[in-house]
Symmetry: C2
Subunit: 656 residues, 2 copies
Amino acid sequence: MRNRVFIERVQPELDNGRYFIKRVLGEKVHVSADVFSDGHDAIRASLMYKHEDDKEWTEVFMQDHINDYYTAHFRVEKRGFYHYKIEAWVDRLLNWYKGFKKKHAAGQDMAIELKIGVGLLQETAKDYKDANKIKTFLGVVEMLEKEGAQGAASQFVLTDEFEQMIIDFPMKRFLTTYDNELKVRVGRHKELFSTWYELFPRSTASEPGKHGTFKDVEKLLPRVAEMGFDVLYLPPIHPIGKVNRKGKNNAVTAQEGEPGSPWAIGSDEGGHKAIHSELGTMKDYKKLIKEANKLGIEIALDLAFQCAPDHPYIKEHPEWFIWRPDGTIMYAENPPKKYQDIVPLNFESDDWEALWEELKSVILFWVKAGVTIFRVDNPHTKPFRFWEWAIAETHKVNPDVIFLSEAFSRPKIMAGLAKAGFQQSYSYFTWRNTKSEMEEYLTELSKTTSREYFRPNFWPNTPDILPYELMGAGENQFIKRLLLAATLSSNYGMYGPAYEYMENTGNTNGKEEYFNSEKYETRYYDWDQRNKITDVMTKINQIRKDNAALQSTWNVNFTRTDNEQIISYIKTTEGLNNIIWCIINFDPNETQYGNVEVPRWVLDLEGREINLRMTDLLTGDVYYWKKDVNFVKLDPNVMPGHVFKVEVLTKNIAQG
Amino acid sequence: MRNRVFIERVQPELDNGRYFIKRVLGEKVHVSADVFSDGHDAIRASLMYKHEDDKEWTEVFMQDHINDYYTAHFRVEKRGFYHYKIEAWVDRLLNWYKGFKKKHAAGQDMAIELKIGVGLLQETAKDYKDANKIKTFLGVVEMLEKEGAQGAASQFVLTDEFEQMIIDFPMKRFLTTYDNELKVRVGRHKELFSTWYELFPRSTASEPGKHGTFKDVEKLLPRVAEMGFDVLYLPPIHPIGKVNRKGKNNAVTAQEGEPGSPWAIGSDEGGHKAIHSELGTMKDYKKLIKEANKLGIEIALDLAFQCAPDHPYIKEHPEWFIWRPDGTIMYAENPPKKYQDIVPLNFESDDWEALWEELKSVILFWVKAGVTIFRVDNPHTKPFRFWEWAIAETHKVNPDVIFLSEAFSRPKIMAGLAKAGFQQSYSYFTWRNTKSEMEEYLTELSKTTSREYFRPNFWPNTPDILPYELMGAGENQFIKRLLLAATLSSNYGMYGPAYEYMENTGNTNGKEEYFNSEKYETRYYDWDQRNKITDVMTKINQIRKDNAALQSTWNVNFTRTDNEQIISYIKTTEGLNNIIWCIINFDPNETQYGNVEVPRWVLDLEGREINLRMTDLLTGDVYYWKKDVNFVKLDPNVMPGHVFKVEVLTKNIAQG
C-alpha cells in the first residue's frame, strides 16, 4: 500500500482487456495512460512489453505530457502474441536530482544535498545486475564521495552525462503495475495489405453455355496476376443443394438445368468438405492453389456455415437443426419470409460441442488442402464466441490463415466480429458517397480505437451488392470508386468481372442487387477483353505494390481543399520515405477546379520553403508545387483523380 | 458457451469497476450498455440491482434504442451500498411472438406456430416459482392448447394482455451476465446539498485584541443559522506550533505574540487530538457542536495531516519523518523554497501501517467527539490509497461522516481523490469567470461520467484564495459570484466574513492571496454588521431550502440568450414540480439587455402554448412570459440576476 502512483485510462485496451489488439510485422503499438500520484514528487512510468516466447520484459520509458498524460511505443518484430503493461513509481533519485538543480541555481549550500544524492545512488545501484551499469554507477558515487570534491561534484551532477544516468538508472520503489492481460497479435503483412479479385469459377469456361472448372480458373491466373491482384476469391465450391434450389433472379423454384446459388451448400453429393463435381476434383483445386501461389496469388475459400435442405448433416446430425412440431425442419427465415433453400445450424443445440468440432474440422480440412484465406459468409449469424474459438484454434495449426468477415451489419456487430479475431472486415465504404462522408468514415476507422482491431476491406461491389451509386453509372464513376477503394484502404477488393465490364443494371425489385445476378446463373465472359477500368486497375495495383505508403490504412491525412467535390489525402511512411498524395474528383460528370493546401505539419515543412515534385503515377505528368495553396483541375473524362508521388525538394537547412 | 449475447460499454462503471459511484437517498442510477448478439433473434436485457443487505436481486427490464443501445434505471432508497449488474439473453419466446405477429399479418397458417408457442410457454413456465404467475401462465397454455380454438387462440396471442405476459415472463436461456463488481454508495442528503460558512474561531471575540473562543463562536451560531448556513467550518483548532512560527503576511519569523497559522499543527501542548488552549476545552468544543446541531448546523473540522516542527509525533515517531544526513528533519519544500513551519509525514515510511492507524485514530477521535464533517486540507499531498482506506474505515463507524476534499490541483488528481471516496470536492468554480467558461465547466461536471463520483463544492473565496476576479471588486461582483455559486451547485460555501464584508485587497506578491491574511493574525469583526451581501446570502440560502430544484447539481439546463454577458439556466425536479430559472448578468458594471428563449423541451411545452408565471424570488416581482423569446434587463446595481420560480400555467390539454 505504499505504491502511490495511479495508472488509468490505458490505451489501447479493448473491453477491460477481454480482447487482443492487432498488428502486422513491423507496425508500432502506441500506448498511453494517465499516470499521477499524490504530492509533487517526480514520477516516472515505463511501458513493458515482451513476446510470448520471451522470458524478460523490455522496458520503454514513457514520456510525460501535459495533464498527467504519458505515452510510449514499441515495434512488433515477431509473429505471435506480445504482452504489454505499464509500471509507474515515485522516483526518489529523479526527485532529488530535480531539487538539486533548483537549489544549486538558487545558490544554496549543496554539501548535504550531495550526501543525500550519494545515499540514493548507492541504494539504487543495488537494484541493478548489469556489471557495466553498476561500475559506471559506483564510479560516480565514488567521485561524489571524494573529500573536498564538493565543487567539482556539484558541477558533475549538473552535466548531461549525469542526467542521462539518472534517466537510465531509475530508482524504482513501490511500483504500481497496470497489467490487465493486454495483448497484441502480430500477423503477416497480408492481413493489412491485400488486393482481392472475386469471380465465380463456373463462369470461367472458354465458351458460352459451358460450366467453368478449376482448370479454367487456372488459365485465368496470369491475367489476375498481371492486373496486380494477390487474392483470388471464389464463392463456395461445394456441391449445391438440389432440393428447393433457387432459379434465375432468385426465383423460388429453379428450372431444369439451372445451377442454383453456390451458397446453398450440400446435397447427396456431399457437404462442406466436398467439391462441386462440375468444377473438378480436389486434386484440381490443390493444383489451382499451387499454380496461383507461384504467381503470388492466394485462393480464398468461402466459408458459409449453412446447409441446403439436402445437406448430409441434416440426416447425420438432426440434433444440429431446429425441428418444428409437425416434423419439418426450420428453414432460415425473416418473418414472414422463409428461405427454403437454406437451413441454419442451431448453435443452441444440446450437441453444440460436436457441432463446433465439426465446423472446426471443416476449416482445418481446407487448411490442410492449402487454403490460407477464408472469406466468411455472414459470420454475424453465427455466435461470436464460436468464431473467437475457431479462429484461435486454426491459428494454432497455421497462424498465417486470414479470415475476412463478410458482415454488412450494425456498427457494434461488425466491431464485435473484428474483436473476436477476424483479421479483415467488409466495411461501409460501399455506401460512403460524398467527400465529407468519406472523410468522416476514414477518420473513424483510422483515428479511433477501431484501428486497434478492425481492419477494413473496401469493396465497391459484391455479387450481393450493386450499390445505387453504381446503378447506371459510367466509366468515370467506376474508376473513381476504384481509385478511392485502392488508395484509402490497404485492403480492397471487388467482384471483378462485373466491375471491370461495368455491370450497372439494378434488380427490378429496387434493391441494391444485380439484375440477372450471377449468384443464380452461369455466365460467359470474354476474358481477353481489356478496357480503361482494366488498365486503371492494373496501374493502381502496381502503384500500391511500389509505394509502401499505400500499404497501410492508418496513415491517412485529409488535407484542405476549397471545393466540396474534391477530396485530398496524403499517406506517408515513417520518416517520409514514401509520400502519396491523392486528389480525387467526386463529380463523375463535370470538370472540377480547386485549390489544395500543402499541409506543412504532415510533410515536415513547418518554417521551411515549399518545393515539391509531384509525379502523377497514373499519367506520368510532373508538376512542381512551391506555394501553400496549389491549383488543380480534374476532368473526370480524362481521369477522376491524381495519385501523386511526392518528392520534397526543399533543401534540408534548419531555419531560424 | 451457448450464451450468444454480448454486453459492452456499461455505464456507469469507473475504471473497470475499481471504484463505486455515489448517490444520496432518493436519487436514480441510470445504467446503459451496448447489448448485441449474432443473428436476428429477439434479445432482451435486464438491469439487476440489490442493496447489500438484500438477498434477492431486483430486475428492471432494459429498454432498447437504436444501434444496440440499452438503458434502465433504479432509485436508491436505502443507505449503504447497492450492487448492480446486467443480464442479457436471446429470448426464444419473444422471438416466436414477434414472428407470430408477422406471419399472422401475412395470412399464413398459424396451427404449427401455435404449437411451437405452447411448447415455449410450457418450457418457460418451469422457470417461475411464483404460484400466481404460474397459474396465469398455465391458464394461457391450456387455453391455447384447446382443440378447435385455433382462431380464438391466434386472436388471444395478438392481444395486449398476451404481449404483456411475454414481457413479464421472459424466457431466459444461456444468460450473459456483466458483473464487474459495480457498486453505488448511498449517502445522506447533505452530501449533495450543503451550505458552508467558514470563519476563524480566534477572530470571534466581542472586542478587538482578544482571542476568540468556542464560547464566542457559540454566540454567533444564531447569526449563522439566520443566514441559512448548515455547515460552520473552522480552520484547525489544535495547538499551533511555536517553532519556526510564521508571522503577519507569511513572514518567515513571527513576532512576539503573533498567533501563527492554525495549519502549522502541534506543539509541546499537543498534536492532532488536542485543542489550542486559547480556544477553550474539549468540553467547550463538544458544547459548540451540540448547540450548533440544535440550530441545524454541523461543525466541520479541518483535517490537516502535517506537523509543526514541535509536534509531539516528531519525538514519539521519528520513523514517520524524513531525516537528512546531517540529522536535521526534512521540511516541506518546493525547491528551492523550504517551508520551515511545516514537516510532512512520510507515507513511504517502513512504519507506514502504524502511521495509517494513528491517523485513522485521529479521525475517529473527533468522530467520537461529535464531528460529522471533515474539510480535508491538501488531501492530494497524501496517498490516495490512504484516503480510500481511511474514509471507508470511518464509514464503518459512522456512515454519516462527510469528507470534503480541499484539492485545487490538476483534473486527474481531483478526480482521483473523489473516486477514492471524498463525498465533496473543491472545484474550479473559483476561476470560471465568463458565461462560456461557466457553461462548459458545469456541463463537464453534470453531464459526463464525472457526475457519478465528483460532487463539486463551489467556493468564490477561501482564506488561501482571493481570486483576481474579486480583487478590488465591488458589491455587484460579490453578489454575482454568490448567486452563481449558490444556484449552480447544490454544495457551496465561502470564507464568510471576508466575503460578507467584501475584503478585496490582494497580497503585495501579486498572487491570488489576501493582504494581511487572517491565516497569520487574529481579527476583530463587528458581527452585528449586515449589508446587502448579508441580505442576499440570507435570501438565496432560504430560496435553496425552499426549492428542491436547487438541491442538486446534476439537473442544470443552460438555455439560449442573445447576449454573451447574460447566462440563463433552468433547474427542475422530477415531474417539474419545482422549476427554478436563473438569469444572471456577468457584467458587474453595466446594465445588460437581452432575449431569453423558453426551452420547450425542458418545460414539457413541445407543441403547447407558452404561459409562465415568473416570480423573482429575490425581489418578489412577477412577470408573465407567453412568448418563445422574452426580453430581460439586468441592472447590476439593482440586482445582478433573476432567480425565478416558474409556474407553468399552460392548460394541460393534449394537442394534435
